[in-house]
């Protein structure tokens, strides 16, 4: 199950959605907004996405994870819009019969999402400047 949302992520709902009597292990990953990056202070972050492609890629990654590991349920939610410090930009919950699979699948999902899903964040620095983050691109 995947979702893109402008609302704060409800972790309890995400966890409830991956529960079942076959589940022995749940791994939940949350990516959260840090205040300092290389010494610069963040005021807030904005996330934007290419909705059709982001949904397609997230679906493909869920499918691939289910193919690679014995995933019982998988729920990925990415937040969009303006995030305050400490808020979660992404929640990935994976449930499996056994824990190694749940850890591996959760790790692979966040690593791969960060490489291929068309979502971008903009740093709104506390000095009033803003900056789109594009890894490997240097200062645009």
């Amino acid at each position: 199950m995947i979702a893109l949302t402008h609302e704060p992520i409800d972790c309890n709902r995400v966890l409830a959605s991956v529960a079942s009597n076959d589940v022995g292990a749940v791994v939940l990953f949350l990516g959260t907004t840090r205040e300092f990056t290389h010494g610069r202070q963040t005021e807030s972050l904005d996330y934007e996405c290419y909705p059709e492609m982001a949904e397609k890629k997230l679906h493909e990654l869920e499918h691939e994870a289910r193919h690679r590991w014995p995933v019982i349920e998988c729920h990925i939610v990415h937040r969009l819009g303006t995030l305050k410090l400490g808020e979660a930009s992404i929640a990935i919950a994976v449930s499996c019969p056994h824990r190694n699979d749940a850890f591996e699948a959760g790790k692979w999902l966040i690593d791969t999402i960060k490489q291929v899903v068309p979502i971008w964040k903009r740093e709104n620095w506390s000095d009033g400047t803003t900056e789109w983050v594009h890894p490997g691109m240097g200062k645009p």
């Binding site: 492609m53 890629k57 979502i119 789109w132 691109m137």
Partner: protein
């Protein structure tokens, strides 16, 4: 044919608009042709283009990928979600 190219993040910021339209040959156009057309007609995007992938119909596309009149096309700067 006129192809509409969706723009995001720094590409949208540079162009000052969320999509640009470029003219491509109606037959045989590729992603490489699209890149050339953007360099020529959208100079504000020229220097980011080297770092940007092209998506055709919601998949990443190589330079040889064909673009037809119904293709949904977008520029994808390096992603930073998650």
């Amino acid at each position: 044919m006129i192809v509409r190219v969706k723009l995001f993040a720094v590409a949208r910021q540079r162009a000052g608009i969320d999509a640009v339209e470029v003219e491509l040959p109606a037959v045989g156009a590729t992603v490489a042709d699209l890149r050339s057309a953007i360099v020529e007609h959208c100079p504000a995007l020229a220097d980011v283009l080297a770092h940007v992938k092209v998506a055709v119909n919601n998949d990443y596309a190589a330079d040889g990928t064909a673009i037809d009149a119904k293709a949904e096309v977008a520029l994808i700067p390096p992603v930073s979600g998650g």
